[in-house]
Symmetry: C2
Subunit: 495 residues, 2 copies
């Protein structure tokens, strides 16, 4: 057997073990009885440790070197590159640093969960200190292994090929634009009436039915996936068995519905990955920015378009058995596109969301470099929020303690949300040109042309290319902040 073939078998095995973990992670959030969390922790930890053994096995580095001489081309060459990337990421950190990180982040997220509600910054800071210290060590080790800067080494894990210098440029342009644009939008919307759901009009059972109708219409394959309820919506499972979750809010069904559409975007990406590359590194989704671009493509681009709403609104009214001015397009659209200065990232609209993200990007870089001390986090956060979003947290639980990312050691993740939003805008913009029938199709509830385009240009390319190249191939140019700005301007200031 060739060295490459041995690598393929090994990565299939690693992928199956990680897939098993993914299913158990889904179960923990949806089905598992509370008392079982300890037992589940042991199962997940055993699988993680076995997967780690399998990917840090020294045989792999021999096979990788040998396979380099086997004259691989195209997909196989790309797969070997991704295998090496996976091997290097897994081997960059010494085992005791990995163990210490796992312990510290597990403790810190646990402390954070209680401390956030109590606005107990002191307890949080105490638990976060070792996390930050160990993340710094990890970033130094990875920087060395990959020949990157510390922050780039962190970023690369979530978005392969993305670099700080690039993000600085994107975010610089966006930051120069958004605060003043936000002022204009808020003024513009000041006198808009907005949609109010009639109490009791949108029972959970009807919301479930509605979500499944749209998922089916969009192409979600219920023979290879399902939808359930969890406290925090997510898209889990594996490409052949996608498990997405949502939560229902009877007083605000559109929140739940757009949550379902958002997760369906993630799901369609996973379901659309090339089946023949399943289990192989090159067959995986291309990082978090691209993943977020797929969820936001549905959530923010396609499904808030007039075309989608002209198809969807009659179905919504029919499912709930409602009618009247409140449920007409104009009012409904206004409620979907309402822009408000708020404190909480996950509740933020499309215009303010990037401001929340860019603030975190600046602060996490400063935390990593040591320019910002943990004790000064709250003040820095509040100051930035005032300048950027125009509001100041009423309490620290609604401020710098609101997200799970930092307590869990995920530094380098936040930028992918906003890069994803920009990629989504650029993909939708390109689709409009390249698929002239899109509007007509979508108005009829026919999404085959849209997804055929996404499949070909994004899903099927899996991890064959780094993110920047993938964007260029799909849209004919590198990521262009101007497209996103134009989208926002057209949507929020045109009427």
């Amino acid at each position: 057997m060739s060295a490459y073939r041995q690598l393929v078998d090994r990565f299939n095995q690693i992928s199956a073990i990680r897939g098993a973990s993914a299913m158990l992670g889904w179960d923990a959030e949806t089905m598992m009885p509370d008392g079982a969390s300890g037992v589940r922790g042991e199962q997940l930890s055993a699988l993680a440790s076995v997967a780690h053994e399998k990917i840090t096995d020294t045989a792999l580095s021999d096979w990788i070197e040998e396979a380099k001489g086997e004259g691989l081309q195209g997909t196989e060459a790309a797969n070997l590159r991704e295998m090496e990337r996976g091997f290097q990421h897994a081997n960059a950190l010494p085992n005791d640093l990995v163990a210490a990180l796992t312990k510290a982040t597990s403790h810190c997220t646990h402390v954070w969960q209680a401390a956030r509600g109590d606005d107990d910054f002191e307890s949080f800071a105490k638990a976060f200190e070792p996390v930050l210290k160990l993340v710094r060590e990890a970033s130094v080790a990875k920087a060395e292994a990959f020949g990157l800067s510390q922050y780039d080494a962190m970023l690369d894990e979530f978005d392969p090929g993305m670099r700080e210098a690039q993000v600085d440029q994107y975010f610089g342009e966006l930051q120069a634009f958004l605060p003043e644009f936000l002022n204009q939008v808020v003024d513009h919307q000041a006198n808009n009436k907005t949609f109010k759901t009639l109490e009791g009009a949108t029972p959970v059972s009807a919301q479930e039915e509605l979500g499944k109708k749209f998922m089916t219409a969009l192409g979600f394959d219920f023979n290879h996936g399902r939808i359930d309820v969890s406290a925090h919506p997510f898209c889990g499972g594996v490409p052949g068995d996608v498990r997405l979750t949502t939560r229902y809010n009877e007083d605000a069904f559109s929140q739940s519905l757009y949550g379902v559409l958002h997760e369906t975007g993630h799901a369609m990406y996973e379901m659309g990955l090339p089946e023949e590359l399943r289990g192989q590194p090159v067959g995986q989704a291309r990082g978090m920015s691209m993943h977020e671009s797929q969820s936001l493509f549905l959530d923010m681009q396609l499904c808030r378009s007039d075309e989608f709403l002209s198809y969807a609104l009659p179905i919504i009214r029919d499912t709930f058995g409602v009618s009247g001015e409140t449920w007409e397009a104009e009012n409904f659209t206004r409620s979907l596109l309402k822009v408000e200065r708020g404190l909480i990232r996950v509740d933020a609209d499309e215009v303010t969301y990037p401001l929340h993200v860019m603030l975190r990007y600046r602060l996490e870089k400063a935390l990593l470099s040591g320019d910002l001390q943990i004790k000064d986090m709250e003040a820095a956060w509040n100051d930035e929020m005032k300048k950027s979003v125009g509001v100041v947290p009423d309490r620290v639980g609604n401020g710098c303690m609101q997200d799970i990312h930092w307590p869990s050691g995920a530094i380098g993740y936040f930028p992918t949300y906003t890069i994803g939003a920009m990629v989504a805008a650029q993909l939708f913009d390109t689709l409009k040109t390249q698929v002239p029938t899109w509007a007509e199709d979508v108005q009829k509830g026919d999404f085959t042309s849209v997804f055929a385009w996404l499949r070909k240009n994004v899903h099927h390319k899996a991890s064959l290319y780094a993110t920047p190249e993938l964007i260029t191939q799909a849209t004919g140019k590198p990521l262009d902040v101007g497209v996103f700005k134009a989208h926002l301007t057209a949507r929020y200031l045109a009427d």
Copy 2:
């Protein structure tokens, strides 16, 4: 670290990996979309292969030998014995035999599923031939490794310490008794009216509620378990996260209810295993006979007693909102204890069930030894059915092709059903003497004294002793077929 401590760590890891498999097995039967069976197969196969690597690691045999010199006592010594048993079972078969068996049984069960419905004995026989051949090879290898006869080596996997000679004695005594007893019972019941569920009176939602009420009353811990629906009821999961399943039949709620009670018996055993020994071989349930004794203790002993029904019937009537003669104790009990000559084991009552099992026991021994050829199976089965149960299969799908056990290579499993039934009778008999308040308690719906006794005498003993010794410790004497016969006589011929 001592060798024993290294073994403990390793078996904890193996147990966690197997636990992960158990959860995924549950998911496959309850939650998984149909299209995901291929992906799930890869996950389960990867976990099985990793668990196999971990238990056949040559380091284990060194640790085991070293640990024998570490002066272990009591529970630790018993654990070492069970570790060695697990290691020997895993190592007894060469890897290519294991692989060939997995392939042949997987193919045969697949063929069997379709062939059974079509009465296609020929296709079944063709697929079963390699299975039987490989099972024979496996039994020879295990016989050699354990110094046992071929059939004993198979039996030992399902019921550690149980031997063919012993089973021959039990089954000889029972076979001499049951056919004539069955005649008497059938005559005795000839003029009994039996219970009829009123159509529409027992909706699924009310059946669910009822099942959960009784599970809660019996002590099932919903913080460490749940109940769902599957095509074939089973009790899965792991001790800290027990997943049982049932199916509901609106026309025969007592079938569903006693299915739930049966699985709850299995669940209570798993939940009652000593927490401090979790993950260790000695902390596991003691084989299939003891497991079946726990399900039948509820299903056939406790929950069909007058004492249980005097507590349960008012709750049943109340939950369904029904009343009248049909729902009174006499009629209800008669329906629960109705004895009928039938073709299908899984539908059989308490009296005929052992006849179905003993027939299979005789035939599977003959198949293993070569005294019975596959081509003669059907005739031998039909002949035995006529002599033993008094009915002849209308078609082969209702005859020798009805069970999944043989197609899946499980020879040596069947006897555990009837040994379990006898153990259940003997345990219940002992409980009545040792816990004088049991009747009073159960009539009040208080099961703490019953389960305190089971916990102490069965559950907490886990795998500390071989089955025969466990029975003697719990009941003061070896398994005694007379107790089971006396139970049947008292229940079915007394009134």
